[in-house]
Amino acid sequence: MKALLVIIAFCGIAWMDLPDMIKNKQWRNLAIYSAIFLSVLTFGVLVASDIKVPSPIKAIQVIYRDILGLSFKAS
């Protein structure tokens, strides 16, 4: 259900963004936009479907704290 809502929301975004690019024949922009759009849509559907997507912040924390040794002591 949540994934369906995400897809509907993205249809709305596409409805607002795409017509100008198509009307003005901005094919390069359309290709770039489509790539970003599909990536974010996939990400959104995964999050909405409760599939665990790893947080980049946690990866950064591991790199800084455990690999580089750059962190303060949390009080």
């Binding site: 993205f10 963004d17 003005n24 922009n29 959104g44 002591k73 949390a74």
Partner: protein
């Protein structure tokens, strides 16, 4: 996303910096948990720590007048390495936007609307941000003056009303902690709220007086440092030892306000102000991300948005040269929305990140990358040798 070139005054920029930093300052728990009753002094040492960082930004902007951070990276490192460096900056802006949106959502759900799903709060907030950006960043910059007055008024009135509950003895003992604790407090304040003004390097090419970048940034920081010290002093004097335990000291101290049993629940004013500030901050970070992404994806040899300062109808969704940029506002806002949903699983993870790793993560983008950029620019003798007098 509209943005008119060359019509933001240095005064607007100064107050925008103030509002931007206040969003983090009003939730000062992550600093007070470390330096406790001496936290107010960290506002000043943090400001001193941030001065060289801001000086580096100012030097870069002077060397490459009319260009933002992403364009400067391209000029210094070339089209390929420049894009890689720019991608790092974009990731930083995106992460900051997601972290601040998450903080906003957590605050609303925890203190104001406990039964509401955080996704709904984030969705409505980010839709507001996207709408504000589509109406133009300069309108937000103008609003920063009004917002600053509201913030200063709210902090002053709340402080006066808790005067009866203050105990100067709570400030003792003075400076008895070990040096490392003060270094941690200074670096954290210098890097986390103050250094984040690197996002304004995406906006400074829109300044009326482009040369005057350093002064508004520094004065904005100074105002924030005083306001931060003042708010922390109030919270320490009101809450005493409790101050280092609660996650939102300002919120808890304002709960003490009661005037003749009629004027109570003053924390709601604080809550409204904090939400406005968070929205403002997320808007600026989102704008920096979208503008940076537009520059990276824009066609080579085509004019970039803020190079055309004379065009009053600049709009990155429908730019003056319509073939240059895809519309990215809504899709970027959606990205921030989903990112902010997965960024932390619990409040403890958020606190741990803020206290331990966030300063180093931030300094990488706020100090290391700009310092290396400036060094390379000097070594390669790039940019203008400007005769700017600040």
């Amino acid at each position: 996303m509209k943005s008119t070139g060359g019509n933001i005054s240095p005064k607007d920029l100064m107050f925008a910096v103030f509002c931007f930093i206040q969003a983090t300052v009003l939730r000062s728990g992550y600093i007070i948990a470390v330096t406790r009753q001496d936290s107010w002094a960290m506002a000043m040492t943090g400001f001193l720590f941030a001065i060289p960082i801001v000086a580096i930004y100012a030097a870069l902007l002077r060397k490459f007048p009319g260009k933002n951070l992403i364009e400067i990276s391209d000029c210094i490192f070339g089209p390929i390495i420049g894009k890689v460096v720019s991608a790092f900056y974009l990731f930083f802006f995106l992460s900051l936007a997601a972290l601040n949106a998450h903080d906003l959502g957590s605050f609303v759900v925890r203190y104001l609307m406990p039964e509401t799903p955080i996704a709904m709060v984030l969705l409505i907030s980010l839709m507001g941000c996207a709408y504000a950006l589509r109406k133009g960043i300069e309108n937000l910059m103008y609003l920063s003056i009004c917002l600053s007055i509201i913030v200063a008024g709210a902090v002053a009135i709340n402080s006066i009303l808790v005067l009866n509950d203050m105990n100067p003895g709570f400030l003792k003992p003075f400076f008895q902690m070990d040096l490392m604790t003060y270094i941690q407090g200074t670096v954290t304040i210098g890097a986390v709220p103050m250094g984040e003004i690197i996002a304004f390097t995406m906006i400074t090419p829109m300044l009326e007086k482009e040369k005057k970048v350093l002064k508004p940034l520094l004065f904005g920081l100074l105002l924030s440092a005083f306001s931060m010290a003042f708010a922390m002093l109030r919270d320490i004097l009101t809450l005493g030892p409790l101050v280092s335990i609660v996650s939102l000291p300002s919120f808890e101290s304002i709960r003490y306000v009661t005037l003749a049993d009629t004027l109570t629940r003053m924390e709601s004013i604080y809550a409204v102000v904090l939400i406005l500030l968070f929205l403002f901050k997320v808007c600026i970070l989102l704008y920096a991300f979208i503008l940076g992404l537009s520059h990276i994806l824009g066609r080579k040899n085509q004019p970039l948005p803020n190079q055309d300062h004379t065009n009053p109808s600049f709009n990155t969704d429908q730019p003056s040269n319509p073939k240059s940029f895809p519309p990215l506002t809504l899709i970027s806002t959606a990205l921030v929305f989903f990112y902010s949903l997965i960024v932390f699983e619990s409040a403890m993870e958020n606190i741990d990140w803020g206290a331990s790793t966030a300063p180093f993560f931030s300094l990488t983008y706020e100090l290391l990358l700009p310092a290396v950029s400036l060094l390379v620019a000097f070594l390669r003798k790039l940019g203008k040798a400007r005769e700017v007098r600040e």
